[in-house]
Symmetry: C2
Subunit: 425 residues, 2 copies
């Protein structure tokens, strides 16, 4: 394969005509495919249908301490749910609070709480002139939307294969007291599928923030979401590491069963130091009378323990691994060596990150949309939706069927080629 | 019966000795009873166990528009749930957003949102020097705790049998732009069981607030929670009334199935004007990817429609009516004519409100506690926990069994007598 960048203008013009013809043909098919969001496929949801059977009118709905899960009470989670999500988070159940159906909601509430009430006795952020967050990029659009919504200034931090640029992180955090947080998806990151290295986690745990109310927002969304049995990433457990580093209060760790059981009908959890949890509870006991304990019990009865969770996740992996491989094989075959794109090869999580030539991402996504394939909006992986080089596109292979995915990726690579040639011409 | 206030000092002293002896005997029993919180009894929860059977692995979990309830999506509720809670709220489903498991949480979030983002484009409350809320008293402690938590100044408004003192409400709301809201439990109010009259609702709908971002927080928690088939209160529907009065945006109406199905595992809803719902949605779409749609579907399949809800509530009534009657009969028999207390006779809801002689409520609750009966803390029904006359005690008869309740009420009336005599001596 000849690199596009090494082609003559004439070669590019010939190629452009061919690609345009292919594109018109595909557009005529009137496809309607979606590779935009990290949604499980229907076959993955079927894996959890047994969860609908574990509770029925013949089951005693009391938890192990005898509390009736059907009634009010137990604000921070039934013990067996704390144990299950504690095991999933590699954290002592005593450091766990169980929440409702969405960890995103808990992150939002943590920011909202910090705005109006401050962090552990510090000045509420709404009374400060400026609050800043560090945002490893590309990253998760929903995180950035939260900080944007609260008027928090976001600073881009480049992501590498071993995590965010820690020199930059350390520099900013240790010198600027307006920096109050950093968004992290430390394992199988969204969108690259990168996992922070041991050294990165250790450097996080040893941060010396200028702001006493700085916190690491550690969104461990894909902790057990491996694609392979034999090729798994390993992430150092941050809470223990922070405690050992004499920095126990520096991190909030979030997790949920969203892509384990049913997204939107799962349970979420926060793990943090006792002092932080006290802060969370103080807010929570005014905010709600308690979360859905029946659903907590349902999850415990279905998954039982960490082994049950891992076994379940292997079934997920068996369904989505072929989808990741289909995308990667197609990218390799169709775009390999052309010099018009690079992509990641994750061992888990929900995404593949694609980087086009500079200034092409928006055009590629628009062309795909025009041909009936919805991608995550170009720029979405950056704060304020602004990808400074217009290169990053998040590919979410899980939701379409294999057949749909095959067509969708074909459209995608064609659009990459077409947009790249047009850029070069 | 001779009124205590008409007894001579000698008579009171004799009575005091007798009551003290009775109190010591009861205290020796080592009771452990609870009349403090509006929790359904286990027999009431059993009524909803069928809800655990409507969903099982053989059921298609798509809602009527074909959306898979097991996956992400549909941020403001599946249509059939909007219809069910719309019917329950007497509001068009188009004016409904379905939330998670707790309407208290939605109220909290509404205040939090107003603090950080303001109401429909108005200045965020956190940037104002002073925000005030009107609080009909006695009222619901959880409401007052929310406004207290956000540093909102609370102003007591006397409650009458037909609702809050509307002269005072109108005067304060029309003259003071710092007054941003009023907490209302308009039907079978907490704790009196009063229902706002037609005139009261009409005056609410016609308010002319000085603040453009003033809202009525209409917590219709007991809309279908009647005790009797033939003796029900009727509440004018506020949303329609406000619209007719040219004041469509002035009210947020909250409801939930907390005391219909399982408290903490139910579904909640807000009804409001389109402009208000837009404000709610703007926040919500950053805060969460969506609420638990599987639980929405579960509720719809179990209750079906408004008739199903009413039929179910009749079963609740059959279980709790004898408890209310037991308490009222005991109060009538033991305290009637003594001039040491007054109490309400609600037709629905979860509470009876008791007013002791001035300065006795704290003592009565302490004495009951000492004898093994937990009551709602005296003062809890007032903002900041401060009952200015120390008279109000909320009685929650639903949670104990009839047998337990009988003992608990005996203890209570004894403590009322003892505390009153001690006050008079």
């Amino acid at each position: 394969m000849k690199k596009y960048t090494e082609m003559s203008r004439e070669e590019l013009q010939v190629l452009h005509q061919e690609l345009e013809k292919d594109y018109e043909n595909i557009r005529a098919l009137g496809l309607n495919l979606d590779m935009s969001r990290g949604k499980p496929g229907a076959d993955q949801l079927d894996l959890s249908m047994g969860m609908m059977d574990v509770l029925h009118s013949g089951v005693d709905l009391r938890c192990e301490t005898g509390v009736d899960c059907r009634n009010y009470g137990v604000i921070d989670g039934i013990p067996e749910a704390k144990r299950l999500l504690g095991a999933m988070s590699e954290v002592d159940p005593d450091h766990i609070i169980i929440y409702g159906n969405s960890s995103l909601n808990v992150m939002f509430d943590s920011i909202a709480r910090s705005m109006t009430h401050g962090v552990m006795g510090n000045t509420p952020w709404c009374r400060l002139d400026k609050v800043k967050f560090l945002c490893p990029v590309p990253g998760y659009d929903r995180h950035f939307k939260i900080t944007e919504f609260f008027g928090i200034e976001m600073i881009n931090i480049p992501m590498h294969e071993d995590g965010p640029d820690m020199d930059m992180v350390e520099e900013l955090i240790s010198t600027d007291p307006a920096v109050k947080g950093i968004w992290c998806v430390p394992k199988y990151s969204n969108p690259q599928g990168y996992t922070y290295s041991k050294e990165t986690v250790e450097r996080f745990a040893r941060l010396k923030p200028a702001a006493p109310d700085f916190r690491i927002y550690w969104d461990n969304a894909y902790s057990i979401h491996h694609l392979y049995d034999d090729n798994q990433d390993f992430l150092v457990e941050i809470l223990g590491e922070c405690e050992r580093a004499g920095n126990p209060d520096i991190v909030y760790k979030f997790t949920s069963t969203s892509k384990v059981s049913f997204p939107g009908s799962g349970i979420a959890a926060v793990a943090a130091s006792e002092a932080n949890l006290k802060d969370f509870r103080r807010y929570m006991q005014i905010q709600t009378i308690g979360h859905d304990k029946v659903n907590q019990l349902r999850h415990v009865l279905f998954f039982k323990d960490l082994d049950g969770l891992h076994e379940h996740m292997r079934k997920h992996a068996n369904l989505i691994r072929p989808k990741f491989e289909l995308v990667l094989d197609t990218l390799d075959r169709e775009l390999g060596g052309l010099g018009i794109g690079e992509w990641t090869r994750p061992h888990g999580g929900y995404f593949i990150s694609f980087d086009s030539m500079e200034g092409c991402a928006k055009d590629i996504v628009a062309k795909a949309k025009e041909a009936g394939v919805t991608m995550t909006g170009a720029g979405a992986t950056y704060p304020y939706g602004k990808d400074p080089h217009d290169t990053n596109i998040r590919i979410a292979p899980t939701y379409p069927s294999l057949e749909e995915l095959e067509k969708a990726v074909q459209v995608f690579v064609l659009c990459v080629k077409l947009a790249s040639v047009e850029k070069l011409l």
